[in-house]
C-alpha cells in the first residue's frame, strides 16, 4: 500500500508546498530538486515535525497525519547523521528499541542483526564520535531500521561524504533497502544518485512535483523543460510548429528552427502516464516551441551533403572538443545556436571545422516556449 500523500498543503509567506503523490510499497522513491524546492520540508511533513495546513497522510491504508511524530514509526537518516554522542554504537542502534519497549533478549538479537546488515560487527562498544563519516552513516541507517519502521526517510544522507565513499555507500543503501523491502523516500540534489538509486524519481520545483516517473522516462521523456534541463545535459532550439503529420514512428511534428526544419515526436504520447500536476499543454500549429534533445541523440552524418534521406541534418562549426576517455563532447555552433554532441570515442572527427550530424527525430521532445 505504501505511503499516500493527498492534497497536502503548507503555506509559508514566501513559499507554498503542494503535494499529492504516492510511494509504492517497497519502492525507493527519490525526491530530487534544487535547493529550496521543498524536499526537506516534505520529509519533515511526513515525519511529523511540521504540520500541514490541509491534506492527509496515510501509511499502508491508515492515516498518520493525526499521529504525533514519535508514534508514526518512521525511520529517518539525517545528513549530519545525528548520532547520539553520549551513547556508544550499540546503544545508539538500540535507542528505538528501548523507546518501543522491546525485551532485552529481542533487542540484543536485533542489534546484532543490524550490525551485521551494515557490515560493522565488532563496533558495538565504540564511541560514535570516533567513527568515520561513512561508518557513522551506516550506524545511523542501522539505528533507523532497528525498530522495524514501515517507512524510511533519508535526507541527503551522502552529501557530507567524499565522492568515492558516496559511490560505495549508495550501493550499500540500495542493497539493504532491497533486502528489507522497506518503502523508502530518499531526498537528494545529486542527479547521479537519483538516477542510480531510484525506482522512481520525483522532480520537485518550488514546492510542487513536476514529474514522477522511472529514471529512464524522466531522462528521456521529461514532462517539461525544467525537468529536462535539471537532469543531464540538453540541447534547446527555439522554433515554430509548422506542421503535423503521420509517420511509421507515430505522430510527428515539423518545427522550423534557425538550423533548419526539424522533425520531432508529437508530444501527446498515450503510453507515458506521467504523474505530474502539469499536463502537457496542447500544442497548436503556429505556436512557438522549444525543441529538446540530449547530446547523445546526435550522430555524425557520414554521407556527403545532398542526400536528404536522414532527417534533422544539421551542419555547424566545431567550437570545442572535450575528450572524456569513453566518449567525447563536442560543442558546435550552427546558425548562431550552440549545440553539444556526445559521441563515442570511436567516431573520428573530420579535421575541418565543419561538422554534419543529425538528430534522431523520435528522441526530440517539444515543449511550448515557456513564458516563465
Amino acid at each position: 500500500m505504501g505511503l499516500q500523500i493527498r492534497g497536502i498543503e503548507k503555506i509559508y509567506p514566501d513559499f507554498r508546498l503542494e503535494l499529492d503523490f504516492r510511494v509504492r510499497q517497497g519502492e525507493l522513491l527519490i525526491l530530487l530538486g534544487p535547493s529550496g524546492c521543498g524536499k526537506t520540508t516534505t520529509l519533515r511533513l511526513i515525519a511529523g515535525f511540521i504540520g500541514p495546513d490541509s491534506g492527509t497522510l496515510a501509511m499502508d491504508g491508515s492515516r498518520i497525519d493525526n499521529l504525533p511524530a514519535h508514534r508514526r514509526r518512521i525511520g529517518i537518516v539525517f545528513q549530519d547523521y545525528a548520532l547520539f554522542p553520549h551513547l556508544n554504537v550499540w546503544d545508539n542502534i538500540g535507542f528505538g528499541l528501548r523507546m518501543q519497549h522491546w525485551s532485552p533478549g529481542e533487542s540484543r538479537q536485533r542489534i546484532e542483526e543490524l550490525l551485521h546488515l551494515v557490515s560493522l560487527q565488532g563496533y558495538a562498544k565504540r564511541k560514535v564520535t570516533r567513527l568515520s563519516g561513512g561508518e557513522q552513516q551506516r550506524i545511523a541507517l542501522a539505528r533507523a531500521l532497528a525498530p522495524q519502521p514501515r517507512l524510511l526517510l533519508l535526507d541527503e544522507p551522502l552529501s557530507a561524504l567524499d565522492a568515492k565513499l558516496r559511490k560505495g555507500l549508495r550501493i550499500e543503501i540500495r542493497r539493504i533497502q532491497r533486502e528489507l523491502g522497506i518503502t523508502t523516500l530518499y531526498v537528494t540534489h545529486d542527479q547521479e544518485e537519483a538516477l542510480v538509486l531510484g525506482d522512481r524519481i520525483a522532480v520537485m520545483r518550488e514546492g510542487h512535483i513536476e514529474q514522477i516517473d522511472t529514471p529512464e522516462r524522466i531522462y528521456n521523456r521529461p514532462a517539461n523543460l525544467f525537468v529536462g534541463t535539471f537532469l543531464g545535459q540538453a540541447n534547446l532550439l527555439s522554433g515554430r510548429l509548422v506542421r503535423r503529420f503521420s509517420s511509421p514512428d507515430g505522430e510527428m511534428a515539423a518545427v522550423q528552427t534557425a538550423v533548419g526544419t526539424l522533425q520531432a515526436r508529437w508530444p501527446a504520447d498515450p503510453d507515458s502516464p506521467t504523474q505530474t500536476q502539469h499536463f502537457p499543454v496542447e500544442l497548436q500549429i503556429g505556436r512557438e516551441v522549444i525543441a529538446f534533445f540530449r547530446p547523445e541523440h546526435c550522430s555524425l552524418d557520414r554521407r556527403p551533403s545532398g542526400n536528404t534521406r536522414s532527417p534533422n541534418r544539421i551542419s555547424g562549426r566545431v567550437r570545442r572538443k572535450e575528450y572524456l576517455g569513453s566518449h567525447q563532447l563536442i560543442e558546435v555552433e550552427a546558425e548562431g545556436e550552440h549545440l553539444i554532441l556526445d559521441l563515442s570515442q570511436q567516431q573520428s572527427l573530420p579535421d575541418s571545422g565543419l561538422l554534419r550530424f543529425s538528430v534522431d527525430p523520435v528522441q526530440i521532445c517539444l515543449f511550448p516556449a515557456a513564458k516563465s
Partner: protein, 562 residues
C-alpha cells in the same frame, strides 16, 4: 532557516505539559521570591498614603544626586565590561585554540572568587594590592623604595580593575566555548588572501565570535552593575556610589524603603533589559555553536618553544596570579597568631579552634547542609525553567526567560529584607527556620543554573531531537533520555555554582540567621566585627577550600559532549 527551525515545535512538549511542568517552579518562585520582593518594592511604588503612585520613582529620576548615582553605576559597569572583554579575549583565544594540562584546575580556581562572600574578596584585595599589601611591599623591597609605588586602591581604577579581574573568567568561558568551534579554515582562507593580524581578527574572526562576545558582555555588565562590596570598599567613599551601595545604605540605615525600593526597582529594570539582551545573544551563540563541531586542539605545551608560546604562558600565569593572589593572601594570613605585620608567627591556632567544635564547627556544618539543600532544590527548579525557556517559541518567551532570571538583578539585601517583612502577616513565620535560608539561597542561586542549562539545551542540534523522536521518544522521554544526558555536564556545573553561591552567601543570611543557623560567611562577618581578622581569614580559607573542592570534583565528574 525558518522552516527547519520549526521542527522542534512538534517534538517538544505541548502547551499543556509545559503548564504542568511550570506549576511547581512558578509556585515556589511566587511564594519565596516575588511575594517577599513585592512587599519591599511596593514601598517604592506607593506614596505615604499607601496608594499606587509613580511619584517616588519620578522624584528619583529628576534628583541630580540619584541621577548621578545611576549614571555612575551604568558608566562604571560599561567600562568594567569593556576591560573584562579586553582581558578575556587572549584567554579565550588560548582556550579555543589549544589544550593544556591543568586547564580544568585553572578553570575551577578562577571561578572560586565569583562565589566568595564579598568581604573576603575585599579583604584579600586589600591585603595584596593595598598600600601595605604584599605586592607593594615586594616592590618596595625589590627596588629599595620608601613609599609604595602602586597606589591603585580606593579609586575608580580599583573598582574597574577588581571588576575586570573577577569577571574576565566569565568572558573566557563563554567566548572560548564558541571560538573553539569556529573552523580555522575561514581564517586560513583570509590569510591566503592577504589579511593578517588585527585586520584578520576584525574582519573575519570577530563577526564569528560576536554572539558569544555580546552574551558575555551582557552578563558581565549585569554583574558589574549590581556589584556591591567592591565598589563599597575599594572605591574609597561616597564619591563612587552605585545603585546597590545606595540601596544598601538606605536599607541598612534608615529603613527608608521608599527611596531604597525605588532605587532597587530602577536597578531591576536596567538588569532586566540587559538580561533580555543576554538571552537573545545567548540564543544566537548557542545556535552558532550547534552548527559546528568541537575538534581536537593542539596542545599548548608544544608551543612553549616559540616566542608566542612564551607570551601565552606569561599571560596565563599573570592572570592566574592576579586572581589567585588575593585569595592566597587570605589563606596565608590565617596561619598567624597576631595582628599587624610586625609579629608573624606561623600557627594553626585558628584551625585548631575551628576543628575543636563549638560555634565554628557548627557554622561549617550548617553551611555545608544549606549548600547541599540549595543544590538539590535549585537544580530541578533551574533545569525545568531552562528547558521550558529554551523550547518555547511563542512571542515574548525571551522576555519571560529574562523575568525568570530576575533574581540576578535583585540585591540580596532587598531579598533578605523582603523575607523579614513579607511573612509577618502570616500566622506561621518561616524566619528563623532553616528552610527560610535554604529558600533564600535557592532563589539567589537558581538563575545560574538556568544560565548554564539553557545554553546547553539550546546547543542540542535539532536533528538529534528529531532522530530520537522518530525512534519513538515522546516529549517526556526525549527530555529524559536525550536532552538531560546531553546537558549533564552543564547541570553539574550548575550544581557546583549553586553550591558555591549558597556557601558564600552573606547578605540574606545575615537577615535570616540565628545562633543555631549560623553560617560561615556570617561567622566571618562577626569575626571581622570584633578585631579577629585572623579568625576571619581562617574561616574564609575553609570556605574557599569547600568551593574549590566542589568545583574541582564536580567538574571532573562532568564531561564535554560533541
Amino acid at each position: 532557516m525558518g522552516k527547519t527551525g520549526q521542527s522542534l515545535e512538534r517534538t517538544a512538549a505541548g502547551p499543556r505539559t509545559i503548564l504542568v511542568l511550570l506549576l511547581a517552579p512558578v509556585a515556589f518562585l511566587l511564594l519565596f521570591f516575588y511575594f517577599p520582593l513585592g512587599s519591599v518594592l511596593v514601598g517604592g511604588l506607593t506614596d505615604r498614603g499607601g496608594r499606587f503612585s509613580l511619584g517616588i520613582l519620578a522624584s528619583l529620576l529628576v534628583d541630580p544626586y540619584y541621577l548621578r548615582i545611576i549614571g555612575f553605576t551604568v558608566g562604571q559597569a560599561a567600562l568594567s565590561t569593556l576591560l573584562s572583554l579586553l582581558m578575556g579575549l587572549p584567554g579565550a583565544y588560548l582556550l579555543a585554540r589549544y589544550d593544556f594540562r591543568g586547564k580544568r584546575l585553572i578553570q575551577a580556581l578562577t571561578t572560586v572568587p565569583f562565589v566568595l562572600p564579598s568581604i573576603i574578596v575585599v579583604l584579600g584585595f586589600v591585603r595584596f594590592f593595598g598600600n601595605n599589601g604584599i605586592l607593594n611591599r615586594f616592590l618596595m623591597s625589590l627596588f629599595g623604595l620608601t613609599e609604595p609605588p602602586l597606589r591603585i586602591l580606593y579609586s575608580l581604577q580599583a573598582i574597574l580593575l577588581a571588576h575586570a579581574f573577577y569577571n574576565f573568567p566569565v568572558v573566557v568561558r563563554i567566548v572560548s566555548s564558541l571560538w573553539r568551534r569556529i573552523h580555522p579554515s575561514t581564517e586560513e582562507a583570509a590569510r591566503s588572501l592577504g589579511a593578517h593580524g588585527l585586520r584578520l581578527f576584525w574582519r573575519i574572526t570577530l563577526p564569528q565570535i560576536l554572539p558569544a562576545l555580546l552574551s558575555a558582555a551582557a552578563l558581565v555588565f549585569i554583574f558589574c552593575l549590581l556589584s556591591f562590596a567592591i565598589v563599597l570598599v575599594l572605591g574609597g567613599g561616597p564619591r563612587y556610589t552605585t545603585l546597590e551601595v545606595e540601596v544598601y545604605r538606605l536599607a541598612k540605615v534608615s529603613l527608608d524603603l521608599k527611596t531604597g525600593s525605588a532605587l532597587a526597582l530602577v536597578g531591576a529594570i536596567i538588569s532586566l533589559v540587559f538580561l533580555y539582551a543576554y538571552i537573545k545573544a545567548q540564543q544566537r551563540s548557542s545556535f552558532a555553536e550547534r552548527m559546528a563541531d568541537d575538534a581536537e586542539k593542539p596542545r599548548l605545551g608544544g608551543m612553549l618553544g616559540s616566542v608566542r608560546g612564551l607570551f601565552y604562558l606569561l599571560y596565563l600565569l599573570f592572570m592566574a596570579l592576579v586572581i589567585l593572589a588575593p585569595m592566597i593572601t587570605v589563606v596565608a594570613y590565617s596561619f598567624q597568631l597576631r595582628s599587624g605585620w610586625a609579629q608573624q608567627t606561623i600557627s594553626l591556632e585558628w584551625y585548631r579552634r575551628i576543628l575543636s567544635g563549638g560555634p565554628y564547627l557548627r557554622a561549617v556544618a550548617n553551611s555545608l547542609f544549606f549548600a547541599c539543600m540549595t543544590m538539590l532544590l535549585s537544580l530541578p527548579l533551574g533545569t525545568v525553567l531552562a528547558y521550558v525557556g529554551a523550547r518555547s517559541r511563542f512571542a515574548g518567551s525571551r522576555l519571560l526567560e529574562a523575568v525568570m532570571m530576575l533574581p540576578i538583578g535583585i540585591s540580596s539585601i532587598i531579598l533578605g529584607l523582603g523575607y523579614l517583612k513579607a511573612y509577618r502577616q502570616l500566622p506561621w513565620t518561616i524566619v528563623g527556620s532553616w528552610y527560610a535560608i535554604v529558600f533564600a539561597h535557592t532563589v539567589i542561586a537558581y538563575p545560574f543554573v538556568i544560565r548554564v542549562a539553557s545554553a546547553t539545551f539550546r546547543k542540542i542540534k535539532s536533528s538529534l531531537a528529531e532522530a530520537a523522536c522518530s525512534l519513538g521518544a515522546g516529549p517526556w522521554r526525549l527530555f529524559l533520555h536525550l536532552e538531560l544526558p546531553l546537558a549533564r555536564s552543564a547541570l553539574i556545573t550548575g550544581a557546583a555554582f549553586a553550591f558555591g553561591i549558597s556557601v558564600g552567601e552573606i547578605n540574606a543570611s545575615l537577615m535570616l540567621y540565628n545562633e543555631r543557623l549560623i553560617t560561615i560567611p556570617v561567622m566571618i562577618y562577626r569575626l571581622i566585627g570584633s578585631y579577629n581578622f585572623i579568625g576571619a581569614c581562617a574561616m574564609g580559607s575553609v570556605l574557599m577550600l569547600f568551593c574549590f573542592l566542589a568545583f574541582l570534583i564536580i567538574d571532573r565528574a562532568g564531561g564535554e559532549f560533541g
